[in-house]
């Protein structure tokens, strides 16, 4: 079926099987292979992309249901020569090893910092009225939908904390 996808600022017209997930449309049809497939069942977060600024699992979405949405993938956040602050922090803090969960982690963290800035509480937030404090416990909790078998978790937390501190200063 005819599907229109608006990805990283570009509109694409695709003629694809209606069963095609957003993840497979990105990877197989638009050749945006930065979004990864770790489970295809919404269990790992490797496929995380931004849909109208919010993080979602692209493997749980059908491409044809998102022709009015603004999708940002890891490729839209920054390329190897112009890394976003989070991408650069992941390199500096070794927030990855094999790199397969990494685009999902970074997309997820990008949206997560906005959620915190918007005052969304998490399971470990003590004070539901004030601003949430980006500490290791908060970040760990909020990033637990993104699995990393290499376990870069402590380094991922450090990378995100560094960017969060930078944002607070700015």
């Amino acid at each position: 079926m005819q599907t229109r996808l608006h990805v990283n600022g570009t509109t694409h017209h695709l003629d694809i099987d209606p069963r095609t997930t957003l993840l497979d449309a990105l990877r197989d049809h638009l050749r945006l292979t930065g979004s990864k497939k770790g489970c295809d069942h919404g269990q790992c977060g490797a496929c995380t992309v931004l849909l109208n600024g919010r993080r979602i699992n692209a493997c749980l979405a059908l491409a044809c249901m998102h022709d009015h949405d603004e999708i940002i993938t890891i490729e839209g956040l920054g390329g190897p020569d112009d890394l976003s602050p989070l991408q650069a922090a992941f390199v500096a803090h070794d927030g990855y090893q094999c790199g397969y969960c990494t685009p999902g982690q970074i997309c997820s963290a990008t949206a997560m910092l906005e959620e915190m800035a918007d005052g969304w509480p998490s399971h470990v937030t003590d004070d539901l009225t004030g601003a949430t404090k980006p500490d290791a416990t908060e970040i760990s909790e909020r990033m637990s939908g993104n699995l990393c078998r290499c376990s870069a978790y402590p380094n991922i937390v450090d990378a995100i904390l560094a960017v969060a501190a930078e944002r607070t200063r700015a």
Partner: protein, 732 residues
């Protein structure tokens, strides 16, 4: 030019220490980092290949028997379906690590539930997936053995050993421990599922796959297909994690190659996450009995370790759970027993640190029980039992750092704050500290690498070695940069292509020291070539920042030669392997909180101190250690393959049901890497580090659970139900 070195004698020269560039050992960022964080590193299933079609494997839904019919015609009539491949050359299961030949083939004979039977190929992935799911397969079922409890165990003669008289030592001991622990099966669960794209050009196959040991994998796929390895090119420049699961060629690769040949067009096949669980290697479940005999001060007089593991019929691999018991602690009387059951369960093979991961863990639990029995502090108990030489063979250790790791780790962690079991409480939380030792055998493997110095003063490192997240791109770049005096941006490392010289591959923690040594040797040869051009001795040459300094004269490396200077390094293990016991050592210290109401355990602090010879990159080595310790958290608390007792099938075959640690389960782990050189291990004085940090980690956590709650869980993982039952017993 070629530089060959056989490790027949220790290398006390330590030439890397003489170099001037200052790259080696530093916490340099990975050169592959910007590609990985921007999603532009290309993994196996991501290559842009024209005219690609898609294959999905169909699986056996009975555990044992024979396929009587595959109703291919039913689905071949559907639009977009191109082929149903039932070729006898399809694999039953992946090859074992380093096999270099085809594993068991012929999918019509079924040995376990979930075994691949056929490949359905279609124009689109969606059509192939749907057709594979509905492909009707008829079976003639036979009886099988699905539970260790029902199996007859083989006791292979070469895997038993005995010295002294353990029974007598146990009888005479002031204190003795005789305990049995069980550990469940584990899955590597690398985040990238196995995937392959096969394309043929005449008789030549190009396979883009996700593999750890390309020089072996090339032979394995060639043997599986019945072709010459020279006709196979394997490409794996980026691998999304391995942990053993990608050591040997697996069903998806052979299926893709067969289909691509039949159809005359490229075919891609990826395993689903469920198929990764069902058809790639599991770590065998183990039952382990440990006997410890000690004098009144806790000095060991005897150690016994018996292990019961399992695998499919016909498989040679057996989880070597007793591997470190011959040398970790002293004691004159020692007995090792090893037993293997033939079960119709998913194939057992290497999962991160096969052997020590579960074997040292259980031994370290037993040592904690001995500490309790003798009243000796657990750290002191280990100190008292460090052997001077390998107690089983009398050979010297190439290096031994356990005492240092114990001292440093205990001080840094604050071990002296440990209290008697069950005496520290914060609200509903019972708090405890635990520790364990780490050890892993060290291996040097044959490896080759080529290094070229171009006319414009840049170096290119080339080998078929892989980087599975371990940091190979970083460390090989550092070794070449250090030896040739080149800054990071003037060294390029190319990996994962069988057209390049065969490295060691990634597995058994041997990649860095083995392939790193090959790169070092190539660079040493290049240094000699440079020295010859400058008319000086290689040892009088200083290379730094792209310049050569000899006899007070500075020459640019760019322009030194009109053409490219090239050398191939070739390392082979030699006599030092036989003359010494080579191992890596470390310690773990943990603080846990056990909830007295729910039985939940939280790891609040975790500290690891490790020594593995020269550390080539502090950043990537530390990350490896964090990864291993996290596997330990999973092993201790949540990870467990569950098999249906009726047919052996894996019930929890996805990431929602197989519980690997998530971010919130892992504290900000503290890692210390001790400075060490092991001259016997390799000419770069490095040993393996990737697996050491899982070997015993789980015991540090379960020992802490005991210290917190007084509950000793001997059946891994220490899940809430088992801890609660223990707490109830204690109260009752």
């Amino acid at each position: 030019m070629s530089e060959h070195h056989k490790m027949d004698a220790p290398d006390h020269a330590r030439r890397l220490d003489d170099m001037a560039q200052g790259l080696i050992g530093t916490a340099m960022d990975r050169p592959d980092g910007p590609l990985k964080v921007s999603g532009t590193a290309t993994y196996a299933h991501e290559w842009a290949v024209d005219n690609l079609c898609h294959g999905v494997l169909a699986r056996a839904t009975v555990p044992t028997g024979r396929v009587s019919d595959v109703a291919a015609q039913d689905i071949l009539d559907r639009p977009g379906i191109l082929a149903v491949i039932t070729d006898r050359r399809l694999l039953r299961n992946p090859a074992q690590g380093g096999a270099g030949e085809a594993p068991v083939q012929d999918p019509s004979r079924i040995a376990y539930f979930g075994q691949p039977i056929a490949l359905v190929v279609a124009e689109t992935f969606e059509a192939a997936r749907d057709a594979a799911a509905s492909l009707r397969i008829d079976y003639e079922e036979t009886e099988g053995t699905y539970r260790p409890e029902d199996a007859a165990f083989e006791t292979p003669e070469d895997k038993q050993s005995s010295q002294g008289d353990l029974d007598a030592a146990m009888a005479q001991a002031a204190h003795s421990i005789d305990v049995t622990y069980t550990t469940p099966g584990h899955n590597s669960a690398a985040m990238e599922p196995h995937g392959a794209i096969a394309s043929w050009d005449g008789d030549d196959l190009v396979l883009r796959g996700s593999y750890q040991m390309l020089k072996h994998n090339r032979k394995e796929i060639a043997d599986s297909l019945g072709i010459d390895p020279a006709n196979v090119r394997l490409l794996s420049p980026y691998v999304g994690g391995g942990f053993g699961s990608k050591l040997g060629i697996a069903p998806e690769a052979v299926a893709a190659a067969l289909a691509a040949r039949d159809l005359g067009r490229p075919v891609s096949v990826a395993l689903s996450r469920q198929q990764v669980f069902e058809t790639t290697m599991r770590r065998s479940e183990t039952r382990q009995r440990i006997r410890l005999a000690a004098d009144a001060e806790g000095r060991l007089t005897g150690i016994g370790h018996d292990a019961w593991v399992s695998n499919l019929p016909g498989e040679t691999f057996a989880e070597p759970a007793t591997q470190a018991t011959p040398f970790l602690y002293g004691g004159e009387n020692r007995q090792i027993g090893f037993h293997v059951a033939r079960l119709n369960r998913t194939c057992a093979g290497s999962v991160r640190a096969p052997g020590e991961a579960v074997g040292v863990t259980v031994l370290e639990n037993a040592m904690d029980e001995l500490a309790e029995a003798t009243g000796v502090d657990p750290v002191d108990l280990r100190r008292r039992n460090i052997p001077d030489t390998d107690p089983s063979t009398g050979k010297p250790f190439s290096s031994h750092t356990l005492r240092r790791a114990l001292d440093d780790g205990a001080t840094r962690f604050g071990w002296n704050q440990r209290q008697r079991p069950g005496t520290r409480r914060e609200g509903d939380w019972l708090i405890g500290l635990g520790m364990a030792c780490a050890t892993r055998v060290n291996i040097l493997a044959e490896a080759r690498a080529r290094v070229s110095l171009t006319a414009d003063g840049r170096a290119v490192v080339e080998t078929d070695m892989t980087d599975i997240g371990t940091g190979t791109y970083a460390i090989l770049t550092q070794i070449a940069g250090e030896m040739l005096g080149l800054p990071l941006d003037r060294v390029t490392t190319r990996l994962g292509d069988t057209d390049l010289p065969p490295g060691s591959g990634s597995g058994g923690s041997m990649g860095a020291s083995s392939t790193g040594s090959a790169v070092y040797l190539a660079c040493r040869n290049l240094r000699a070539q440079i020295a010859a051009r400058l008319d000086c001795a290689e040892t009088d040459l200083t290379l730094k920042d792209g310049k050569a300094i000899a006899a007070n004269k500075t020459t640019d490396l760019a322009g030194l030669s009109d053409g490219t200077l090239t050398a191939e390094g070739h390392i082979e293990p030699g006599k030092t392997r036989e003359e010494t016991r080579q191992a890596t050592f470390g310690t773990f210290f943990t603080e846990v909180a056990v909830n007295a109401v729910t039985g939940e355990t939280r790891v609040r602090r975790m500290q690891g101190t490790f020594a593995a010879g020269r550390i080539l990159n502090h950043k990537t080595a530390r990350s490896q250690c964090i990864g291993g310790m996290t596997f330990g958290i999973g092993m201790a608390l949540t990870e467990e393959l569950m098999h249906d007792p009726r047919d052996g099938h894996i019930v929890n075959r996805d990431l929602a049901e197989y519980h690997m640690p998530v971010n919130a389960d892992v504290p900000q782990i503290d890692v210390v890497l001790l400075d060490e050189r092991d001259d016997w291990a390799s000419p770069i004085q490095a040993k393996g580090i990737g697996e050491l940090s899982i070997c015993g980690a789980g015991a540090a956590i379960t020992n802490a659970i005991y210290n917190a709650s007084g509950v000793r869980v001997r059946d891994y993982p220490a899940s809430l139900d088992k801890i609660l039952a223990g707490l109830d017993d204690g109260r009752g």
